[in-house]
Amino acid sequence: MRIVVLIKQVPETKSVKMDEETGTVIREGVESIVNPLDLYAIEAAISLKDQYGGETVAVSMGPPKADICIKEALSMGIDKGVLVSDRAFAGSDTWATSYILGETIKLLGDVDMIICGERATDGDTGQVGPEVAAHLSLPVASYINAIESFNNNSVSLSRQVEQGDEMLDVALPCLLTVVKEVATPRLPTLDGKIRAKAADIQLITADMLKLNPDYIGLKGSPTRVAKIFRPKVTRECELLFAKDDATIHAGVDKLYAFLDSKEAL
């Protein structure tokens, strides 16, 4: 069995700073990490392999330095790393990204299962998983919170929906997107780190894939950013200062009257 995990390199969002003047993001000095939600996908793949054997492959599309993220996956126990990188891919939206990742998986061949994170913390769309499945005409099971059992031609899963958990049997090959509940990501081991450091990461560039040049990069992206702006927060707030017993009680009385006037009691 061969499992591909799709992982994305994202900026550490907690450290993202905004240029207040221009309303743009300051990217310099921002550290890149493996999309935190992809760690659950990595863990799901490794634990499937631990139980049922096979090979796990981490695939990431991004700039050359995305190899650091792939090494992290390797140090957790993923067997093989693939970096999909080419200047021609710059500016790809989810459609173009999914097309490129889909074609990469075709090139790798012989894939039984693809596992994605629920969404990336930067783009935050959660679209790439189902879109890759669509490009490959594979069944997709999203929001998986438990992988129950597995045999040669199907996998039993639990899928988180609004009303509860759906129990599914999905035929292989298939694509899953997983949520946090699916597994607790293991930490990289020292052994793993040593192995990751020495490992060769397979590089895949545009000319190695049979791509339609009109389908990649900015040109191949159906969506365009038309405008970027700072969200504004607008409400007139009446401030009540509660410094001592008297002001606390006066303030609470006002809150109470406010609730009452809004029929919130």
Partner: protein, 331 residues
């Protein structure tokens, strides 16, 4: 159907239309006016009743496109997507909006990819430009900025919006529209996914359904103190929400989280206690009708979205508020 250029994807559960469908119709109303077109609500199911479908018409759908077969009773991505693609081919809608539910977030990207068009996830604002094109505005880069996105040169223009990020359309008694029933068996309904059963969740809290929500932040200091807030919730009849910092510390579970990476709520009343009001947190609650904030820092961001704010120590204020609520006017 030919002038129904704007589609919404309605959803049902056990034959009953879900509220998110009416929220979409609320948005569709403004958009269709600007675009000067009619609205179709697409819905999948098995044996959907006329009375139930009429509810979509009452709330603004000019057409209901009901695609039915036993296999379509529950969401099945393969069957649903084939039907949807067939319908898109036949009627050529220009815009499709769906809720960002487990169904919408799976079906929409699958369909958009296959139809070779763009999709914008989790829009908070939708608008129509002078050319009748859809402007899709969503938070980007962890909510630090807003981006307005266009689908350029591809059709249909597709977007999902977060459940509870807008008000449901109110019903208009006796509104006229047409129910178009489509036999699902006109399409290939085979599937590689077998749904065995649904285990209903016993989740006590219906954060997104609640009229009133109290959100607790890190100012509460420790897990034991949450019981103070629970008491307030009971008295107000409010559901309990939390910031990410509270959830990350394990003081409350993830289903309580409100914000960009949690739930979006749109209640009548939101009370924030010990919450700083980070932009990612505000993204989940700032559309609440009335907002009260309690924070000891007068500069806290949360006051920028509040209607009324109390600056002070929550451990001094909340007990007094609780006493007041218990005793009514007698305090």
């Amino acid at each position: 159907m030919n002038n129904a250029k704007l589609w919404i994807l309605a959803e049902q559960f056990e034959g009953e239309i879900l509220k998110v469908s009416y929220e979409l119709l609320g948005r569709a109303k403004d958009l269709s006016k600007k675009k000067n077109c009619q609205v179709a609500a697409v819905i999948f199911g098995a044996n959907l009743g006329d009375a139930e479908l009429q509810k979509l018409i009452d709330r603004g759908a000019d057409f209901v496109l009901a695609i039915e077969a036993p296999e379509l009773k529950h969401f099945d991505n393969e069957a649903y997507s084939r039907c949807m693609l067939g319908m898109i081919d036949k009627y050529e809608p220009e815009i499709i909006i769906a809720a960002a539910t487990s169904t919408g977030r799976t079906l929409m990207p699958y369909v958009a990819m296959t139809a070779h068009t763009g999709l914008t996830a989790d829009c908070t604002v939708l608008d129509i430009d002078e050319e009748g094109k859809l402007l899709q505005t969503r938070p980007a880069i962890g909510g630090n900025i807003m981006a307005t996105i266009r689908t350029q040169g591809f059709m249909p223009q597709m977007a999902t919006v977060r459940p509870h990020s807008s008000k449901p359309a109110a019903p208009v008694e006796g509104r006229v529209g047409e129910i178009v029933r489509v036999d699902g068996n006109d399409f290939d309904l085979s599937s590689n996914i077998k749904r065995k059963e649904l285990v209903l969740s016993s989740e006590e809290l219906q954060l997104q359904e609640a009229d009133k929500v109290v959100i607790v932040g890190r100012g509460i200091k420790r897990a034991e103190n949450i019981k103070l807030i629970r008491e307030l919730c009971d008295l107000l009849g409010a559901a309990l929400g939390a910031t990410r910092d509270v959830v990350d510390r394990g003081w409350l579970s993830y289903p309580h989280q409100v914000g960009l990476s949690g739930k979006t709520i749109n209640p009548k009343l939101c009370v924030s206690i010990g919450v700083s009001g980070a932009i990612q947190q505000l993204a989940g609650m700032q559309t609440a009708e009335n907002i009260i904030a309690i924070n000891k820092d007068p500069e806290a961001q949360i006051f920028k979205v509040a209607d009324i704010g109390m600056v002070g120590d929550l451990f001094e204020i909340v007990p007094v508020l609780i006493a007041k609520l218990k005793n009514g006017e007698s305090l």
